[in-house]
């Protein structure tokens, strides 16, 4: 069983999101698609850092490093990472170029 970090609901192992509150239970690696547990720092499939590089740099330049960050700090990092992704989309008038940037594909036609 997987216990949701947000609401403590017990979820079946196959679930990616909590059945009770919708909180993400697993973190999918953007490189290799491995399903990591929420809070993992590095991908179990390929070893890639699960923190966005810009965020990791910000923390390393401050009082703590990503490698020694506490769970609370990591949660803040993930929240900051999400906020950065949010900023990549305009409030309205989303174009395919915006989406290409957000989804990380520099697609050549």
């Amino acid at each position: 069983m997987q216990i949701c970090a947000a609401c403590d609901h017990s979820n079946t192992p196959a679930r990616g999101y909590c059945a009770a509150c919708g909180h993400m239970l697993r973190l999918v690696c953007r490189s290799c698609r491995f399903a990591n547990d929420h809070g993992d720092r590095f991908c179990g499939g390929c070893g890639l850092s699960l923190l966005m590089p810009a965020v990791a740099r910000t923390v390393a330049g401050g009082k703590s490093s990503a490698a020694s960050a506490t769970s609370a700090e990591l949660d803040e990092l993930f929240a900051a990472s999400s906020a950065m992704q949010d900023d990549m989309l305009p409030a309205s008038g989303v174009t395919q170029d915006d989406l290409d940037r957000l989804f990380g594909a520099r697609v050549r036609q």
Partner: protein, 139 residues
Amino acid sequence: MTQAMTTEPIPVMLPPTALVIDDSAIQRSMLKRILTEAGFRVVGEAPTADGLVRLYEHHRPDLVTLDIVMPGVDGAEAAADLLGRYPEATVVMCTSLTTREKILACQRAGVRHYLLKPIVADRAAAIFRHVVPRAKRSV
């Protein structure tokens, strides 16, 4: 001197496979054409995402294209459900929906790309090839 016989299996390149989910028959037809011309083999299609997990488990496609606004299950929710069960699945949304929250939800669920309608064939083909870069190799 005779050449030694080899017992090594000969690699065979199989085209990557795709599943197309869209409630519009015209859109499905167009996507199938684009996918086929991009080198994919379309192994299944459906007008709703209601049976997406079952279809995925049956065909194990290399790529799933998913509309969002469809009768029955919302495509974004279906994508999140599929990726929760099969994180290795490659899903591309093909929709005219530009709602910020919906796009970000798809991105966080692990959707690989988000293609806006009206579909531009060359761009769609480039994105499909980008998210499924190699043809499957088997023996």
